[in-house]
C-alpha cells in the first residue's frame, strides 16, 4: 500500500483566518484514521510559525507541535517543511498543499520575496515562490502540488510548475478553504494509489460541498506531463490569431473583450472558452484551436465549479481587457514569456491603443 506525506503549509493573514485554520486542524485530527498518511500542517501566523505533526496510532491521533523559527524567506520555510516531511517518511509520496492568498500570475520581482516575511498578512502567494521552494527541497519535486489560493489554476502557472509536480490542483477563481477534514477522511478510507487518485479526492470533496450549497468557488486538477504539448500547440494557434489582428480586428476584439468567459480576476479568461471563440470564423485558426483542445483534454483530470462561474473548464490564461497591464512585468522570469501567446497579447494591446489614438507601451521584449 502506498504511503503519503500530506504536507500543508497555511498562511493566516488575520486572527480570523488563524481560527479557521485551527478549526480545520481539529477536523483533520478527527478524520485521520490510517497509518499510511503522515499529516503535517505548518501554520504561519502573526504570532509565529508552528508545525503540527499528526499521526494515527492504535491509541488515537497524536499531535506533536513544533515551533519553527521564521527567520528565513517564505520559500525557505516551505522547503523546510518539504524536507522535514521527507526525512520523517522517505519512502512516502508527497502531496504539498499551500493554503494562502494567491494572485495567479503576479509581479514576481519583489525584493521582499527574498527576505523573511515582515507580516504574513501582506503575503500573496506567487508561483515563483512555490517553484523555488520545491526545487530547493531534497527531492526537487512533489507528486501532488495543490494550491488552495485564489486564481492559481492558470495555464501559465501550471506550465511553470510542470517540472516540480506530477499533478496539480488549483482554483481559477477566488478560492475558499478546502474541506480538509473530508479530504483526510477520504484518504483514510481508501489510501490513493497515485497522484491522480489523490487529486480526484480533493476535487470530489470540494464538489460535495458545492453540491450542498456550502461554497461558491471552483477547483480543478491537471496532469503536468502533457502541458508542454499544450503550449507548443498554443504557439501555432497564437501565431494564427495574431495575424487575424490585422485582417479581422473586429472579430478578435469582440472575442477578447466580450465573448471569452471572464473570471473573478480582471486579467484572465477561461482558456478553453477562449480558444472556442477567438478565431472561430477562420479555418486555420479553428484547426489550430482543435490541436490545442485535444492536448488540453489529455491534461485535464477533473474539475468542479459553482453555478456562479459558468463556462469555466479548469484552466485560465492571461487575457486582460485593460491595455495598462505590463506584460513584461507579469511574465518576467516565467518560461512562458517566449511563447506565442505573449506575442499575441502584445500585438493586441498595440492595436487597441493605437486604434484610440494612444501611444503603445514600449516593450523590452517585443
Amino acid at each position: 500500500m502506498k504511503r503519503w506525506n500530506l504536507l500543508i503549509y497555511a498562511i493566516a493573514a488575520t486572527d480570523d483566518e488563524h481560527r479557521r485554520i485551527l478549526a480545520q486542524l481539529a477536523a483533520m485530527r478527527a478524520a485521520l484514521a490510517t497509518e499510511q498518511c503522515n499529516l503535517v500542517l505548518e501554520i504561519s501566523a502573526a504570532a509565529g510559525t508552528q508545525r503540527h505533526w499528526l499521526a494515527f496510532t492504535p491509541a488515537g491521533v497524536t499531535d506533536r507541535v513544533e515551533d519553527i523559527v521564521a527567520d528565513r524567506p517564505i520559500q525557505a520555510l516551505m522547503t523546510g517543511l518539504l524536507d522535514a516531511g521527507h526525512a520523517h517518511a522517505p519512502d512516502a509520496a508527497t502531496a504539498f498543499v499551500l493554503w494562502a492568498h494567491g494572485s495567479g500570475l503576479g509581479h514576481m520581482r519583489r525584493p521582499r520575496d527574498h527576505e523573511p516575511p515582515a507580516s504574513v498578512g501582506e503575503l500573496f502567494l506567487t508561483h515563483a515562490l512555490v517553484e523555488q521552494a520545491i526545487r530547493a527541497s531534497h527531492k526537487h519535486a512533489v507528486d501532488v502540488l495543490a494550491l488552495n489560493a485564489c486564481w492559481m489554476a492558470t495555464l501559465e502557472v501550471a506550465y511553470a510548475m510542470r517540472g516540480v509536480a506530477e499533478v496539480q490542483v488549483g482554483s481559477q477563481v477566488y478560492a475558499q478553504a478546502w474541506p480538509y477534514g473530508a479530504i483526510v477522511a477520504a484518504i483514510s478510507k481508501s489510501v490513493p494509489g497515485g497522484a491522480e487518485p489523490l487529486a480526484r479526492m480533493i476535487v470530489a470533496a470540494v464538489q460535495a460541498e458545492l453540491d450542498h450549497g456550502q461554497r461558491h468557488d471552483a477547483v480543478s486538477a491537471v496532469r503536468s506531463a502533457p502541458l508542454s504539448e499544450v503550449v507548443t500547440a498554443l504557439d501555432g494557434y497564437a501565431a494564427r490569431v495574431t495575424a487575424l489582428i490585422d485582417t479581422r480586428w473586429s472579430d478578435v476584439r469582440t472575442a477578447v473583450a466580450s465573448d471569452a468567459q471572464r473570471l473573478d480576476d480582471p486579467y484572465q479568461v477561461d482558456f478553453a472558452s477562449l480558444i472556442d471563440v477567438l478565431g472561430k470564423s477562420d479555418k486555420q485558426a479553428q484547426k489550430a484551436a482543435g490541436a490545442v483542445s485535444s492536448r488540453l483534454r489529455k491534461a485535464m483530470i477533473a474539475s468542479a465549479a459553482h453555478a456562479s462561474h459558468p463556462g469555466i473548464r479548469g484552466l485560465s490564461i492571461l487575457c486582460p481587457r485593460s491595455t495598462h497591464v505590463d506584460l513584461d512585468d507579469v511574465y518576467a522570469d516565467t518560461g512562458f514569456a517566449k511563447h506565442g501567446w505573449v506575442s499575441f497579447l502584445r500585438a493586441f494591446q498595440h492595436k487597441a491603443v493605437t486604434e484610440r489614438g494612444g501611444t503603445p507601451r514600449a516593450s523590452t521584449s517585443a
Partner: protein, 125 residues
C-alpha cells in the same frame, strides 16, 4: 389657482428592520436592479485592476431611488468580480465612505487579505 410651494422632506431616521434590506452582496448572475425600499441607491463596484498588494474596484453603476420613484436597470453578469451595495438611506455615497465598508465585507468573505480592496475614486484618472 396657485399651487402651494413644493416641500422636500428629508428621509427620517432609518429603522433597523429597513436596514436589513441594505448592504453588500456578490453579483453572480444577470440582474434587474431596482433599489430596495428604504435604501437610497444601489451601487455596483467591479474589480478592474490589481497589483501585488491591492485589488482595485471601480464605480460601475449607480441606480437611485427617491421615495416611491424608482427605476429598473438590467445588468449582464460577465463572470468578473462584481459587488453590489444597496446604500442605506442615511449613508454617504463616496469612495471614502464605502472603502471601510467594502473592506469589512471582503474580510468576512475570507477570499483576500485585509486592506487590499481599494475603490478608485471617480475623480481620479
Amino acid at each position: 389657482m396657485r399651487n402651494s410651494p413644493r416641500q422636500i422632506t428629508e428621509p427620517g431616521p432609518v429603522e433597523s428592520a429597513s436596514d436589513a434590506t441594505c448592504g453588500f452582496s456578490r453579483v453572480d448572475r444577470d440582474l434587474e436592479i431596482v433599489v430596495p425600499p428604504h435604501c437610497r441607491a444601489s451601487v455596483l463596484l467591479k474589480l478592474v485592476e490589481r497589483d501585488e498588494r491591492h485589488r482595485y474596484y471601480a464605480w460601475w453603476l449607480v441606480v437611485a431611488r427617491h421615495d416611491l420613484d424608482e427605476v429598473a436597470v438590467r445588468y449582464r453578469y460577465t463572470g468578473e468580480d462584481t459587488i453590489r451595495f444597496d446604500v442605506p438611506a442615511n449613508a454617504v455615497l463616496s469612495s471614502a465612505a464605502l472603502q471601510p465598508l467594502l473592506a469589512d465585507f471582503l474580510a468576512h468573505d475570507g477570499t483576500m487579505p485585509p486592506h487590499t480592496p481599494i475603490i478608485k475614486g471617480l475623480d481620479l484618472p
